[in-house]
Amino acid sequence: MSGRVVIGLLAAAAAALALGLAADNYVLRLATTVGMYAALTWSWNLIGGYAGYPSFATAAFFGLGAYAAGVLQTSGLPFGLAWPLAGLTVAVFAGLLGGAILHLRGHYFAIASLVVADVLREVTNVWTGVTGGGMGLSLPLLSLGGVNGQARFYFTAMLMMAALGLGISWLVERSRLGVALRCIEQNEDAAQVIGVDTRACKVAVFMLSGMLAGATGAVYASWVTYIDPTDVYDVLLSVKPIVMALIGGVGTLMGPLVGAVVFLGLEELFWRNVLEFHAGLLGLLVVALVLFLPGGLRDMGRYGLLRRLGRFLPWSRKIL
């Protein structure tokens, strides 16, 4: 790992530690959300950034993980088992889904992945016996020593998810799979010709992405203790990670973290004050981002702004 990445990670770890120990519950909640979205963005980055397949399936994975964990826990399973099992369930689902749609390219793949969340949401709505349907599902409250204990616990849990996301991404980048994905992203036909089993690679990374998003959904479900289909299958859960990746740099290692921090920071600073229309402003932000900074924050160098910031952040990565 390059020196800059190590420094960045140490700084992030120190900040996390400080937060966990010193911060009040409001700040902790914010930090937990950052951790959650960082994990989701790392999840998206695997299939969308490394493999170059514009996936809108993040919401589907997240929601499925939330419900899987919810259903398991209401059947009596402790969270320590429910969370990994939920992740595994979503990984299997992602494998099956991937087998069905990863041969599609571009728009067709994007649409198919987008539509999956809708289908899952409706199925969840209707399967009232198991999921509580439109009335939602209540999860057992974990006894963790009061409100402060809860806040710290879930902050740590989401931090683990984020760390998992970073860890998986780091391993993938350095592995043969990572090289294969870069080849697929740049020229899928040529990748086949040099011996890459493109189908297997794509499905594998899709499963990793699903597992990560699903596990994050599972933690989320316990965190909020009440989930309903519209909430956990919300399309914004697919769109926000993409925007965060765009901000931080698609296909980079630390991009997801940078993007999540910047995006959620902005959201917190400006839009809580403009509560009514903040989703609309988000839309404008996205438009501005795509038009002016399509390569993410490092594009700010183009406009002479924050050139030094751009150099500090670890954008490039060697693939071999």
């Binding site: 870069r182 080849c183 990748a191 010709v193 040099i194 011996g195 071999l320």
Partner: protein
């Protein structure tokens, strides 16, 4: 001697057109075969079918006596068949070295990423691209890209190599370089099939020539024989020319 590659009744139809019509021939190890024919004869289609890019409509393809028709391109590459593309297909945002190393890593069966990197440098040196190793693949000239294609194909450690119009767009001296490389590759034990428009290259380099026309195999033999074959001449130059110049011989 057991043939390296054997085609048996290979037919490829698409959209009502018969692109390949019951092609049958066999290649032995160590041959350098020229595959020629007028435009649209089906030469690239044949290579695509052999390497798994297109599916056969009928017939079989055997490589080392094992059937390979129906396998996907990556499997076929791993078995030792490589090909270059007429329209060169690099990984544009990777460096020249990374392009070759990727090939070495997968079908080239390199044990590890560092090993693939080492192999890449060797192949680049062989093809005369070592000086450009760190440049992005998209910055190469056409001649450079053709050599990159070649280096990538070599990194796959092929037993059989299809060179599809490697000389298109090259000038005389570049072409001579290319020919030297081809001979050097053959000397390493790789069986080569040259798809070529340029007769000069075919005559100089091949030990045997196979001719396709309208998807059919119309001639197969020693270069000098083949170019004198009236069927071949007719295919390239038309019936009237052939009739004019070969009056009295069976058409």
């Amino acid at each position: 001697m057991k043939p390296l590659l054997r085609l048996d009744g290979v037919t490829h139809r698409f959209g009502g057109v018969v692109a390949l019509d019951r092609i049958a021939f066999a290649l032995g190890e160590g041959e350098i075969v020229g595959l020629i024919g007028p435009n649209g004869a089906g030469k690239t289609t044949l290579v695509n079918v052999i390497t798994g890019v297109h599916r056969l409509s009928a017939g079989h393809v055997y490589f080392n006596d094992e059937r390979i028709d129906g396998l996907k391109p990556d499997r076929i590459a791993r078995r030792g068949i490589a090909r270059t593309f007429q329209i060169v297909q690099p990984f544009p945002r990777m460096t020249v070295a990374e392009n070759v190393a990727a090939a070495a890593l997968f079908a080239g069966h390199a044990g590890s990423i560092p090993e693939a990197n080492r192999a890449a440098l060797e192949h680049l040196e062989f093809c005369g691209l070592l000086s450009q190793a760190a440049k992005p693949a998209s910055s190469l000239t056409l001649a450079g890209r053709k050599r990159l294609e070649l280096a990538k194909s070599l990194a796959l450690k092929p037993k059989l190599l299809f060179l599809d119009e490697v000389n298109a767009g090259l000038n005389h001296s570049e072409m001579d370089h290319a020919l030297e490389l081809i001979r050097a590759i053959a000397a390493r034990g790789v069986t080569i099939v040259l798809i070529e428009h340029l007769m000069k290259v075919v005559m100089k380099a091949s030990t045997r020539v196979v001719v396709l026309h309208h998807g059919q195999l119309i001639a197969d033999g020693h270069p000098a024989q083949v170019i004198a074959d009236p069927h071949v001449i007719e295919a390239y130059l038309g019936r009237s020319y052939a009739a004019e110049h070969f009056a009295g011989e069976p058409a």
